[in-house]
Each structure stands twice: as C-alpha cells, then as structure tokens.
C-alpha cells in the first residue's frame, strides 16, 4: 500500500474492492511502528484500530452506503476526547486521565465510519509553536529530524507529512494547524469560528479555538470538513450551516476571483526566499484567472500583542479546572489551597505556567483595563480591517509562517521569539475568518506554506483557490524521505 495516497484515492480503492480497511489500517499501524521512534508524532495508537477496520469492511460487505471517510484511519490531536483513551493534552497534569465520553469529533468521525487510530503529540495544552513543550518529548520534522515540526498540532502535521495516516485533526487557536502544516509541507485548514463543534476538546482559549483537518490535498480537507462540521447544541457557538456540500466551484478556474495581498505581511521580518515562493504562487493563481490587488490590514502589526493578552487570559480561566481533584495528577499539600498550588506547580510545564500567570496578571485588578480590555478593542479594529479588505477581495493571500522550520531547542527558552512564529496566523483567529495553508515551495529543502484567508463561513472559496493551485503545482505531492 502506497503510504502517500489521499483520502479520495483510498476511498475509491475501498469502493471498488481493490483494498480493504483492514489492509489500509494494517499498513498505517506498521508505518507508525517503524517511524514513530524517530518522529514521536503519536502518543499512543488505539488497541481496537484493527477491530474498527474489520467492522468497517463488514459494513461495506453487507452493502451499507458508506461515505468517503469510511474505513480511513484518522489521527486525533491529544486534546480531543475519545471515550476510554488516555487523553492528556500532552500534560503531566492529566497523566492517568481516561476520557469518560466521546467529544464531538470522536462522535462525528465514528458516525462517518472512520477508524480512530491514535492520539498525536502536541505542545502542552496547545501552548507553543514547536511541539517541544509536550510532557512526552518533542516531535521531529520528517523533512529534517534536527528541526521542529511547528506547533502546537505538530504530531498531527507530522503524522500526515510522514505518510503515517492520510488525515489527522488538529486545533488552531493562533495558528496551531496552519503553521505546522506549513512547516511540514501538508494542507491544513482552520475553519471559521463556529463551523466545527468544540464539544469535548480541552479548551485553550474558547473565543479563538477551532478544530480542523491536516490532509495531503485541499480536496481531502473539504471531504473531512463535510464529516466534522455543523451545528452541535452542546457548543452554543457552533452554527447551523446552510450548505455543506462541496460545490462544483472546486472545479472552476479563478476567473472573476479577486485576491488581496496585504502589504503589511510582506514588509520587514519576512525571509526573502519565502517571499519569492509566495509571489510565485500568486503568479500561478493569476494565471488561473485571479485578479490580484494590494490591500491593507493596518492593525495587523498589533495582532500578536492582542493575541498574547486575550489567549493567556482565556487560558488562565479554562485551566482553572485542573485542581488535582477531579482528574489526573494530584500532589497533596497542607490544606486545599496548598494542594492546588502543588498539583498545578508540579503538574504544569514552564510555558503553561507562564501563560497562566500572564493571563492572571492581565485580568487582575488594576491591570485589566490597560491589558485585557485594551486587547479586546484592538481585536475589534483587526476584525474591521478584515471586513473592509474582504469587501473588495474574495480572499487574502499571505505567507503562513515568516520562516521555515527552525532547529530543535533554538527558541525554546525565549518566549517572545517563539510567539513571533505566529505573527501571520493569529489575526485570522482574532477576526474569526477561515485560513488555509498549502505547500508552495521549499527553502533550503524545507517546506514553505501559502496562507489563504477568506470571508467568515466562505470556506468554499478557500477550497476553490487551494484546489486550483494544487491542480497546477505538485508541491503537495512531495514526500519527505523518512
């Protein structure tokens, strides 16, 4: 079995009887076993993966009408609950925890007939841009094992990039799907806030978090989205979608499509070779019929600062639940207060503690106006910039990351250097617009990503642009030698 087949190709082979889910899942498990020692992409694989595959094959043999994900192995980031799995968000504080119930993603994937094959490594509680803050060791980039894979969904990005699975889910609070997709050379989508249910995901920042897929192609991303998107009454911010079918738009060229290049994203700080890759990609989109205009997102430069107030503020509140009593790690102290302090002091890693403290500070009496409320006002200005730009263009095109993958440990003890890696991605979360990252070239043999952001709930436009790009280029078909 070719380990780099797409969901669409595998699904066709399953339909035609050319292969079985058991065969696909066996090949995937074998590849994980061979490669995971070097990559550390998976934290564990499901004991019942082959049982799930055989059950899928039986349903198919019984003549059931199965969707495109049926029998396909899917990996989930370790912050998504699957009943009976030892989900930890890669934190020691959840060591020993067993998920009591299925989150929305587990439910939807099971309903789609997918095989839930295992949980992937991540930055602890999704706080990081390199997958180095995991309590269970760093994940490595399959293009160069001395480099980071990006983060925080690094395990999911690597699982797809290295051909361990055709699809993995991640979560994106400030770039945690798009940036590792960019650094590992795969397709990654952060949907519009509200498109995918957050029920049963361990929250980082509830007004920013969104779940999305890592795949080899845009077409596959659209297929996966069909299975996971839509209203869920247990997430009050999820939206009833009028139309979730993949339109024939996917097949249309880009005549009449207007693309905006925000001048602020191409200014200082961008690696000139990455800029060249992005501009080459823009030229290809132009040749496909798109019209390219310059746009301005004047408050974009304040995005990162606003983000690193709002996100830790929400995180400090969300992570309050880890008290050492209801689940996971427990360290007894003299009295309840000391038990909390010891459990949390020992159970959380350094970056998580930094963010909880920043969050507590910006919400504390005397500072909440200057920091938190100020950041919410700036968030409004950033959203207005996007609204304004997206009146004149259908999508905004930028680099996903200001650099290619950097060396392991290079930025690990320098929080600001790490945060700057998110500079092009956080604005989409603040403005709650969708963002897609697709491979668009290589710099020093490491993958470069193109980011396409669109109007809220207009993922179809992103699919159309991304798919047209992938029918004209072969960057997304390049595979690392691992």
């Amino acid at each position: 079995m070719d380990e780099f087949l797409t969901v669409k190709q595998l699904s066709e082979k399953l339909s035609s009887g050319e292969t079985t889910s058991e065969e696909i899942v066996t090949a995937s498990l074998k590849r994980i076993q061979e490669q995971n020692g070097a990559l550390n992409a998976f934290l564990s694989v499901a004991d019942d993966a082959l049982d799930q595959a055989r059950a899928s094959d039986k349903r198919r043999a019984d003549g059931e009408d199965l969707g495109p994900l049926a029998g396909i192995p899917v990996a989930l980031k370790d912050n998504m609950l699957v009943q009976g799995w030892g989900n930890t968000s890669a934190s020691q504080i959840l060591d020993g925890h067993t998920s009591a119930y299925d989150g929305a993603m587990a439910e939807r994937l099971k309903a789609a007939g997918a095989v839930l094959i295992g949980r992937t490594n991540m930055d602890e509680f999704a706080m990081g841009s390199s997958t180095e803050s995991s309590h269970f060791g760093e994940t490595k980039n399959p293009w160069d094992l001395t480099k980071i894979p990006g983060g925080s969904s690094g395990g999911s990005a690597v699982a797809v990039s290295a051909g361990l699975v055709p699809v993995a889910l991640g979560s994106d609070t400030g770039g945690s799907i798009r940036q590792p997709a960019s650094l590992c050379g795969v397709t990654g989508l952060k949907p519009t806030y509200g498109r995918v249910s957050r029920y049963g995901i361990m929250a980082l920042a509830s007004s920013l978090d969104q779940i999305g897929p890592f795949t080899r192609t845009v077409e596959d991303a659209a297929l996966v989205m069909q299975a996971i998107e839509g209203r869920d009454e247990r997430d009050a911010t999820s939206i009833e979608l009028p139309d979730t079918t993949i339109p024939e738009l996917l097949e249309k060229d880009l005549n009449g499509v207007k693309l905006g290049l925000p001048k602020e994203y191409f200014a200082e700080g961008l690696d000139p070779e990455i800029k060249r890759c992005v501009m080459d990609a823009v030229a290809i989109l132009e040749s496909a019929g798109a019209e390219v205009l310059e746009v301005s997102l004047p408050h974009a430069e304040y995005g990162l600062a606003a983000y690193y107030i709002i996100q830790p503020a929400e995180a400090s509140s969300n992570l309050g639940r880890f008290d050492g009593l209801r689940y996971g790690y427990h360290s007894s102290g003299d009295g309840l207060q000391e038990t909390y302090e010891r459990t949390r002091g020992e159970g959380f890693g350094a970056e998580v503690k930094r963010r909880i403290m920043i969050g507590s500070y910006v919400l504390s009496a005397g500072y909440v106006d200057a920091f938190y409320h100020k950041a919410l006002k700036v968030r409004r200005l950033i959203k207005q910039d996007f609204d304004e730009a997206l009146k004149t263009v259908d999508a905004i095109v930028t680099p996903t990351s200001p650099s290619v993958a950097w060396g392991l440990h290079e930025k690990f003890n320098d929080p600001i250097a790490m945060y700057l890696a998110d500079i092009y991605t956080v604005t989409a979360n603040l403005a709650t617009v969708p963002g897609l990252s697709i491979p668009c070239g290589f710099v020093k043999d490491l993958p470069v990503g193109l980011q396409i952001m669109g109007r809220p709930f207009d993922e179809h436009m992103l699919y159309r642009i991304g798919h047209q790009y992938q029918t004209r280029t072969d960057w997304h078909t390049r595979m690392p030698q691992v």
């Binding site: 009976g84 925890h97 067993t98 009591a100 119930y101 806030y193 509200g194 007004s207 009454e233 009050a236 911010t237 939206i239 304040y302 600062a305 606003a306 690193y308 309050g320 050492g324 009593l325 209801r326 689940y327 996971g328 003299d334 009295g335 309840l336 207060q337 038990t339 302090e341 010891r342 949390r344 002091g345 020992e346 959380f348 503690k353 930094r354 909880i356 403290m357 920043i358 507590s360 500070y361 910006v362 504390s364 200057a370 920091f371 409320h373 100020k374 950041a375 919410l376 006002k377 700036v378 968030r379 409004r380 200005l381 959203k383 929080p415 600001i416 945060y419 403005a431 709650t432 809220p456």
Partner: protein, 101 residues
C-alpha cells in the same frame, strides 16, 4: 517595565501555582519581557472603540434548563478519574478550614 519578585509571587498566588524560590528570577525576566511586548498596544488610540469579545454572530442561545442523566459507563469513567473518593463520592480536603483529615 519589570515585575518585582513580590509581584511574581502575587501572580503565582492568584494563579494557584507553586513556584520555587530559585525559579522566581527566571519568571520575573520572562513575564516582564512578554508584558513589555504586549504593552505595544498602548501606542494605539482605541478611544470609542467597542470591545470584541467574540465574533460569532449569535447571541442568547437558550436551551431548556433540564437535568439530563448520562450513560452509566460515562458516569463510572468520570468517577474513576477522581484522585480520591469514597464510594461514588469525590473526596476533597476541607474547603473552609485549613486542615486535612
């Protein structure tokens, strides 16, 4: 701007985090550098700008306030996660008295 060691201790207390004495100066440096970076927002005039808490274009999503049970295997798994229990009850240290039983 640089946080004092006393401020770091206070923040850690607010966040219910035990910090070792020898870690204080590192947190002092790192937290100060982050706060100095995000203070960049102060250069922007946001007079009259309305805050944006979230951009989901919805408000007041109501549901009936009804108690719903859960499946037995969910209940059992939730209880098994407790760090300390008596039967099916979560056992915790006294909340209003600073003592352990």
């Amino acid at each position: 701007m640089k946080l004092t060691e006393e401020q770091v201790r206070h923040i850690a207390k607010l966040a219910r985090l035990h910090i070792e004495e020898e870690e204080l100066s590192q947190y002092q440096e790192q937290l100060s550098s982050i706060l100095n970076y995000v203070a960049k927002l102060q250069e922007l005039d946001t007079e009259g700008v309305e805050e944006l808490q979230h951009a989901a274009d919805i408000s007041n999503v109501f549901r009936a306030d009804e108690i719903q049970g859960c499946e037995e295997n969910v209940r059992v798994r939730a209880i098994e996660n407790f760090s300390n229990r008596e039967g099916d009850l979560l056992k915790v240290q006294a909340v209003f008295e600073n003592r352990t039983e």
